[in-house]
Symmetry: C2
Subunit: 351 residues, 2 copies
């Protein structure tokens, strides 16, 4: 591989500079993405057509000196494949025609056939690997069982998570049944991505942070741990590093590190230096610039990126990223400034 | 006063049982509120008519054995009085016709005249005190400068706080100018509530938790500390306890306690026992049941309420509350179950 900095940092091996990739590095802030999205007709068509998903995945790597590609897809491919009727309401995000709100509805759910129903994902992974041709590693991903369940139960975005929490508190057995099904499905799904060529995987637990500490451990972290334990090695026998990202998970870093994951993704509400002191070198750390800093002037972006790198401190084990995804109004020039600043400053610290 | 449990707990004095009040204890989940709201024509008319604000404030105390009344009002009365054109978009919440997004716009802002523009608030406080007739204390409140600023800059609800964060990162001096104006205004506003009879005050920092640790201290906590330091005693010379509530503030409890506040409001993402071990008895703690537990069956509500009280442990200094407000679809019978459970279980622990 031409550039294996990302995998080296995840394995705590020495690096020449801090590697960087960005959550939602492919997406609406790029004009070439918007053009392709318009041609594709629908967002899900982009995800489900391997050639298009491959093209979108590679777009940011043509512009920026990123150290990783991430499969272009959506966390909701799994519930979509379970027949919940995924659709997107403009300005509102994802909705399901058939939310799952009762023990009876949960009892009727079945795992999708990963090869048949989600084969387009493995196809995309294979195609991207071929096109990347070793330039950078390819990261696969999935939503966490809890986060998938929030969308499946709420049926759309929520500010309170009223329905899933009512289910969690009133029907914990049904909740566990749903999460168990999702954990098995996510494990198979990530293993299919690994078999097809994903060289690292990230689990996005976007909504774990809305739980109480006890409920987080029981209903989110426990299932992510099962997935971590169920992941297979790459076709060449090498270990595939897994990154757990719980937005709002700062209070629970020690518990997250204990799952056996290789890295923890941090949002911006915790200092990465504090996080490192808490988990030591048991795991690598990924993050954690406030994504809104991309709306600041380039010199401010550069200074703040350097501050994050300095806060992490000397030694390997840091993968630079935002604390959450790139948002649609970001100027691509600002992303370029960030990527270059990270490499420049990271090299200074590494040398 | 007939029932001064709340003030005693805030002062760390012995109590016969755990006092309880609830954020948004008056509001849409009560049919009598919905009737009055319909008659009033608009939400702001409810807030701005002292007789109506008084009636709404007292409604939950007629149903439940609560240990405190909280002034019915809105945190956005201050920016409304500054001429930003507050209005409510159904299903979307508050919006401003004239958001404040530039240093120039901030430079043109002036503090409202508390007596003239916001006199209806002090009038409501006086009327509620008279009607309460010593039954329970009356809590006054205001939004934190940072939280008020988020609405003023964004102009409406936001999921990313893109505009205010761009301002914060690009124009920190203008941001400080705005926050300084708001801190002075909130101080005067709370002092007017105290002069009119508020016996405790709470500062709602709903959006402090979306900041980085450094930005939280510089742009939110610093200004709440100034307010704490600027509050006057009650007309009878007694100290008026102040509660700081930062949603998502769990990581920063030590810093919050150091402001000189009397109590910290906790959301549900931290265990109250953990919080108490961190801040000791320097401050009282308020909270922190997951508000969504009100959608659970009454026996589950009772068990979880008892668990929060047990987690806090023996001794005074605990004011029971939710981790955020009561939401509109809650069954009032569930609130009754919670209030009774807290008093029953709290008495067991106190005796």
């Amino acid at each position: 591989m031409t550039n294996d900095r990302l995998l080296r940092a995840l394995r705590h091996e020495p690096v020449d500079t801090t590697p960087i990739w960005l959550m939602r590095q492919a997406g609406r802030y790029l004009p070439e993405y918007r053009r392709l999205r318009e041609q594709a007709g629908s967002f899900m068509n982009l995800c489900q057509t391997p050639e298009l998903a491959c093209e979108v995945t590679l777009q940011p790597l043509r512009r920026f000196d990123l150290d990783g590609a991430i499969l272009f897809s959506d966390i909701l491919t799994i519930p979509a494949a379970m027949g919940l009727g995924l659709h997107f309401v403009p300005g509102e995000g994802p909705h399901f025609h058939h939310p799952v709100r009762t023990p009876e509805a949960i009892g009727k759910l079945a795992a999708p056939d990963i090869a048949d129903d989600l084969g387009y994902v493995a196809d995309a992974v294979r195609l991207i690997r071929r096109e990347l041709n070793g330039r950078t590693p390819l990261i696969g991903f999935a939503g966490s069982p809890w986060t998938l369940a929030t969308y499946m139960v709420e049926g759309g975005p929520s500010k309170t998570w009223q329905n899933i929490k009512a289910l969690l508190y009133n029907e914990p057995r049904a909740m566990h049944q749903l999460l168990d099904l999702l954990a098995r499905t996510v494990t198979d799904y990530l293993n299919a991505q690994i078999a097809a060529g994903a060289q690292a995987v990230q689990i996005f637990d976007t909504w774990g942070g809305v739980l109480t500490p006890a409920a987080y451990r029981e209903f989110s972290l426990q299932y992510m741990q099962r997935i971590v334990q169920g992941l297979k090695t790459a076709p060449d026998g090498s270990h595939v590093p897994v990154i757990l990202f719980t937005k709002g998970g700062g209070p629970w870093l020690e518990d997250i590190a204990a799952t056996g994951c290789d890295a923890i993704g941090l949002d911006w509400t915790i200092d990465i230096g504090t996080a490192r002191r808490r988990v030591g070198d048991r795991v690598a750390l990924q993050g954690n610039l406030d994504p809104m800093l991309l709306y600041a002037r380039p010199e401010i972006i550069r200074a703040q990126a350097a501050a994050v790198i300095d806060d992490f401190g000397p030694g390997t084990g840091h993968v630079f990223n935002l604390g959450h995804g790139v948002t649609p109004q970001v100027d691509p020039e600002h992303v370029a400034a960030l990527v270059d600043a990270v490499h420049e400053h990271g090299a200074r610290l590494a040398s």
